[in-house]
């Protein structure tokens, strides 16, 4: 049983969490052509290495991000979504 560190609730058993898939920045539906939009919706990188993923602490419905190495299944760090919004220049 892995332990995942929830940015809101601290370290918890991984059975308390739900995996939410790979993070990828929201595409702009107005500006995306069909090809680009299909890429955004249907295709994921499936990268071997460190990827950013959505996770939800099920008991508190809290969504956050994790950096996980898909080669070792090692979670490098977890952080709140607001951190990404800031770095994206979004409010």
């Amino acid at each position: 049983m892995k332990i995942l560190i929830c940015p809101l609730n601290g370290p918890r058993n991984i059975s308390e969490f739900t995996y939410g898939g790979e993070y990828h920045p929201l595409a702009d539906p107005q500006k995306s052509n069909d090809r680009a939009w299909a890429d955004y919706v249907f295709f994921h990188d499936n990268h071997a290495g460190i990827v950013i993923e959505w996770w939800c602490h099920t008991a508190s419905s809290y969504w956050f991000l994790a950096e996980r190495d898909t080669r070792t299944d090692n979670v490098v760090r977890t952080f709140p979504a607001s951190e990404l919004a800031t770095s994206d220049g979004r409010s």
């Binding site: 892995k2 739900t18 939009w37 299909a38 919706v41 419905s61 969504w63 979504a81």
Partner: protein, 998 residues
Amino acid sequence: MQRNRLDKGGRIDRSRPLNFQFNGRKLQGFAGDTLASALLANGISVVGRSFKLHRPRGIIGFGAEEPNAIMQIGKGDMTLPNLRATQVELYEGMIASSTKGWPSVNFDVSAINDVFSRVFSAGFYYKTFMRPKGLWHFYEKLIRRSAGFGKAPTAADPDSYEHRNAHCDVLVAGAGPAGLMAAMAAASSGARVVIADEQNELGGSLLCGDYQIDGKPANKWVEQTAAALGGMDNVTVLPRSTVFGYYDHNFLAVVERCTDHLSEAQRTGVRQRVWRVRAKEVVLAQGAFERPLVFCNNDRPGVMMASAVSAYLHRYAVSPGRRAVLFTNNDSAYQTAIDLARSGTTVVAIVDSRPHAAASELAASAGIPVLAGHVVVDVSGRRRVTGVRVGKWSGDTADTVDGTISIRCDLVAMSGGWSPAVHLHSHAGGRNEWNDELHCFVPGASTQANRSAGSGNGVWSLSGCLREGLAAGDEAASRCGLKPAGLDVPQAEDPVPMSIEPLWRVPAEKDPDRCSKQFIDFQNDTSVADVRLAVREGYRNVEHVKRYTALGFGTDQGKLGNINGMAVLAECLGKSIPEVGTTTFRPAYTPVTFGAIAGENVGDLFEPVRTTAIHEWHEAAGAPFEVVGQWHRPWYFPRDGEDLHAAVARECLATRNSLGIMDASTLGKIDVRGPDAVEFLERIYTHNIAKMKVGRCAYGVMLGEDGMLMDDGVMARLGEQHFYLTTTTGGAANVLSWLELWLQTEWPELDVYLTSLTDHFSTIAVVGPNSRHLLQKVGCNIDLKKESFPFMSVKDAELGGVPVQLFRVSFSGELAFEVNIDSNHALQMWEMLMYAGGEFDITPYGTETMHVLRAEKGFVIIGQDTDGSVTPQDAGMHWLLSKDKDFLGRRSLSRPDCVRDNRKQLVGLLSGDGKTVLPEGAQLVIDPNAEKPVPMCGHVSSSYFSACLGHPIALALLEGGRSKKGETLHAALVDGSTVEVQIVSAIFYDPKSERQNV
């Protein structure tokens, strides 16, 4: 008559004889015996038959490594298959039987396989049973019967099992000298310690030899240490407990066998318990396994591990033979020789493959002859060793050896050196390193917070084990932030030094490729010849060779044979052992029962069950239940022995003609509030939210980003900034999570709060032309007429004096109301409505009638009529899509694939014969006589008999369906026949929807 029992000694209680049965024979042992030691005491040589060749096999080891003595213990529903007799504590009345051998272990008809053993080589099954094609089903039954192990009980398990979570600073796996010392050191620092050992008493190897610690017998030290640990509040001692798995983040699983050692009459409470332990630090002190030597007929009953012989002598006062030959490539077996001689057993010779052995002086002083530079070439005797042939060896494996010396004996004690039990270290992710001096794999660097100590770390001396255990315990405590207590290492002497020269297989007398009786893996009958054959046939990777030869499979997972097998493979490949590497170690270390794994999660506790506040009424009414998500929903309410169809027909007609009532409480309910609630819901739902007036309801759907229907339900505007959403029963949790995802991650600027109300409110649907009359009859404080309370509106009201939220919505097409009420009052409300509804023949109905009524109206069920590939347009919901705003999934709806004409679209189907209820899932074809495979153009998603219409109806998803109304297709049935179907509108009943709007 326990003819092999010594007169004195052992850790058995001679005042407590225990009666037991083995293969129908009545025998006696003593309290403290294992089944294996009791069988040996009674002189039972043959305890099983081998897997493939059905050779007679005897007990070879004394613990988890035992490959041969695999037993069925107990009878009936309490029986356990495939237990190692060496790990089964004897109890009064035990009934044990061999899991192999038919009709009996002493006469097994399949032993003829042994005569043809050259035919039964590696890959035998793959090579032989491939042809003729199709006959595998026939072969399989025979193979399963001849090759299987024990029998699983057929009755339900009457015992209880449990899981327990535990946290500790230091978990110590193994309570031998290193483990005990580590636990003492850690516990003395104040650490919370769990120490687990698979045996019934602590002490490990110290129970199996004449050791001295601090000038006293080691048993005294074990007693003192065990008592000290038992007396500390910060220590949990778990005997009979196997640490069977080491998982991520120092999470370990321990199975404690609580009552298996008691007679069946004495057992009370939990039979086995799985401890789920999260440890800050771990000390691995599970010891080492002695390796067999690989020589011809080394599997004969009476050939045993030297360490096992010592264990039976010391711990159980059993001498497994009268005349013993020792065969070794290292010094540790000399101790066994001395042990045997002291017990009065004749030690004919020690056959040592090494030309010079320092330990031979020890033997000389005990008067035991040593044949240095010799090897045992062959063993005679079938059901019991009668002798060995020994030859002089040059030291080169490539040479052949002549077995010119014959020695009569009935016991061969062998030692091929030792291998640390690196299993848990490996489970944790650690690699193993080959040690060229010790000739074994030792644990490499740890990848989690653990360290190995003692013989599990390649330390063979007692003094070394104690010293390393102490250091490991101190280190673990320090890592937990505690100060080590500074205990002294107890003084211990090591009478026999340890040196070893490798001998992975005894050289052949003629051709090693013909040595089919030089067994490496006893349980799977894998021999040197098998491994060599695999290499000749092109196998190079150790994992492939394992699977081809079965080396290391089975209940023992190769605890004895693996390293020898890898060494033989390395020799064939011309590689070193570390280059060949080991196969992967996986949990469980020893087999764990399904009962223990399941724990309490069986029967009623298998899965959480959700019931509505009205559930007990449904039960009393005799309704069968349908499981939806975790909810138990009433399916139908049979009267007077009605079956499903009769009940549903009656419920449908009663509802459409007068009045039905349904418990709709399982719908998901989400309260949405906040200044940005409108904006938020505009982005989620496809219809216009801002235009909704307070007090109005709307049917809404939400889409995934791919544009496909995800969930649907009625949503209502309760205030300017306050909405109430309903979701499907099964989708409630996912929808809430989905809404939270968008709110929290992409739209954090929106000020909106979501609350699940699913369990707080119950919903009673009152349906049918008389529904308004019913509500008026029980007394409603608001005007229910169409003008003041129109279709698709919501109002707070009082019904019979009870506050409710009243919705005028309909999932049946009839005039209907949904009564939303505090769950605490739901049953009372239901009963009040039922009582008052008597004059309207009020008819409770369940999920089946609900499905029929909605299908008659062409209303889809998300997840039944949709499958994640259906857009709103496909389902005929164009009218729901706002053109004035963006919403999740909208962009995808204009993708070329989503605007194709021939997408599968929702249509209605009528059976051509007017009576066949099509099976749901039936495929639709244009021409049933077309060349196979017949192209399929759609499938039936919902299908019922409509009592109101008097004929069957079905909904289907059909390619280009909307433009094909009036055409005829064929539905394929399971039996291969087809039924003609006509494509019609999906709305079968009241197409203008007048009935709900009155």
